[in-house]
Symmetry: C2
Subunit: 254 residues, 2 copies
C-alpha cells in the first residue's frame, strides 16, 4: 500500500502534526511544527496545507497555525461531549446557581484528571483548570475523588509515586496520601486545601456508575466548604440517573 | 511524493473519514464509513485502525465508531473555544441566571448559523440547537441578527433564496424577510416567533466587533420577550469589551 515512508504512515504524520498542538503550544509556526514532530519541513508544508484546506488547522494573521474550526466542530460529536451537555450540564448549572463558585466535571485519563466541563462566573475564584486540560490526581479535589474510585491496583501504583509537589500544601507522602484517599473512599467525598493552588480549596464527589467526578473550587477564605457536600451528592445522583437512561458512554476518558 | 492514489491523498482520505461523521450520523459502522466516503473497504479498514489507535475515532461496544476523545480534546485548543470560554461564558452565565432561559452564542458559517455555546437548565424550553450544530439564518433569532450584520452582498444573495420553510410561521417571502432584516438592522435586535420551532420564540443581538450573535430562546407563551433586550445588549457589550483586549479571534466561523 502506498503511504508508508520514513517508518510512519502518512496518516500517522498528519495526526502527529495535529498532536503537536497542546495547551502549552496552541499556536505554532510551520517550523515549530516540523521541529516538534520531526517531520521534514517540505513534507510538513504539504501536509499542513492539506490540513488547513480542510480546516483541521487554521492560520492566524501572523502566519502561525492553530487547531482548526472543523476540529472543534467535529469534537462536539464525540460521545463525551453529548454526555456532558445532556446529562451533566443542567445539574452543574443548578450547582453554580446555588454556590456561585467554580463547578467542575472531570474524568481520569491515565495518571491525570482531565477537565470535561467547567462553569464559572465573574465572582468565582480564578483557577487553573481548563476544559480539556489536565491536572494531577493527588492535588485536586476531583482527582482525589477519582483516585478513591479507581481500581485498587491503579491506586496502589499511583500512590507509590513520584508525587509532584505543586504547592507547599500538596500531599506528597505516599502513606499520608493513602490514608487520606481511604478516608475519601469511606466518607464519599474529597477535599483539598491549597494543595493545587494557593488561595483555593475544593470539594468533590464521584458521579456513581461513571468514571467522572464533580467538584467545586472556592476561595480558601471560605472555610465552610463541607456544607456543599449534600448539594454535590444530589447533583451527582441526578447526573447518574440521567446517564443511566442513555447508552453506555462512560464520561471517563479511558 | 508517496501518498497520492485514487485522486485523493492519504491525508485527504483520512480527513474524509473523519468528515463522514456529522450530527445526523454520529455513530458509523466500518461499511457505513466506506459507503459515505467512497473509499474501498480495505483502505477504510486500515485508515480507521490508524485513526482509532490515535483516538481520532473511538469504537463503541457494538463495534460502531464515533468521533474520538482526542478530537474533542484537541478541539478545545481551537481559538473559537477560548474566546467562548474566556470572554463569552461569564456573560452568558449572568444572562442565564437572570432569565433561566436558553442562552445561545452563534456565528455565521456560510449560509447557516452555527451554535458556538449554549447554556440551558431544567426549566428552559427544549430546543433544537446543539453546540456545533447549524440552523437556518432566516428562521432563528441569532440568524436574523447575523443576517442584519452581514455584508450587503451576502445578505442580498441570501434573501434571493430559496428560503426553507421550517414551520408555518417561517418567513420565506424574500421581500418580507428583507424588510424585517432592515428593521433588525436599524433597531439593533432580532426576534422570531415560532419560526424555527412551534412553541418557541427568540430574541437576539449582535456582539459588536465580532461575527457572533447572542440570543435567548423562550417558551412562546412568554410574550414579553422584548424586556430581555437591554440585558442582552449589556452582555454583548461586556463580551465585546473582553474580546477587544484579546488577540483577533473573531467568533465568526469564517
Amino acid at each position: 500500500m502506498g503511504g508508508q515512508f520514513g517508518g510512519r504512515s502518512v496518516t500517522g504524520r498528519a495526526l502527529a502534526i495535529l498532536g503537536s498542538f497542546d495547551a502549552e503550544h496552541p499556536r505554532l509556526s510551520l517550523s515549530d511544527i516540523a521541529r516538534r514532530t520531526g517531520i521534514p519541513l517540505s513534507t510538513t508544508f504539504r501536509l499542513v496545507a492539506e490540513l488547513e484546506q480542510w480546516r483541521a488547522l487554521d492560520r492566524e494573521a501572523d502566519g502561525r497555525y492553530t487547531v482548526g474550526f472543523r476540529v472543534w466542530e467535529l469534537g462536539r460529536l464525540a460521545p463525551v461531549n453529548g454526555v456532558i451537555r445532556e446529562a451533566a450540564m443542567p445539574f452543574m448549572q443548578d450547582l453554580y446557581e446555588l454556590t456561585r463558585e467554580n463547578v467542575h466535571l472531570a474524568g481520569r485519563d491515565g495518571d491525570e484528571a482531565i477537565y470535561l466541563e467547567k462553569l464559572t462566573g465573574h465572582r468565582a475564584v480564578p483557577i487553573l483548570s481548563r476544559v480539556g486540560g489536565r491536572l494531577p490526581l493527588h492535588a485536586t479535589g476531583v482527582g482525589k475523588a477519582l483516585l478513591a474510585a479507581a481500581p485498587v491496583a491503579f491506586r496502589a501504583a499511583y500512590l507509590r509515586g513520584p508525587l509532584v509537589r505543586v504547592t507547599p500544601y500538596t500531599l506528597v507522602d505516599p502513606a499520608r496520601l493513602a490514608r487520606e484517599i481511604e478516608v475519601v473512599r469511606r466518607r464519599g467525598w474529597a477535599r483539598t486545601s491549597e494543595e493545587m493552588s494557593l488561595g483555593s480549596c475544593s470539594v468533590a464527589v464521584n458521579v456513581p456508575g461513571t468514571g467522572a467526578a464533580l467538584g467545586l473550587v472556592v476561595h480558601s477564605v471560605r472555610r465552610d466548604l463541607d456544607r456543599w457536600v449534600p448539594a454535590l451528592q444530589r447533583a451527582a445522583a441526578g447526573m447518574a440517573r440521567r446517564l443511566d437512561t442513555q447508552p453506555d458512554h462512560c464520561a471517563e476518558a479511558r
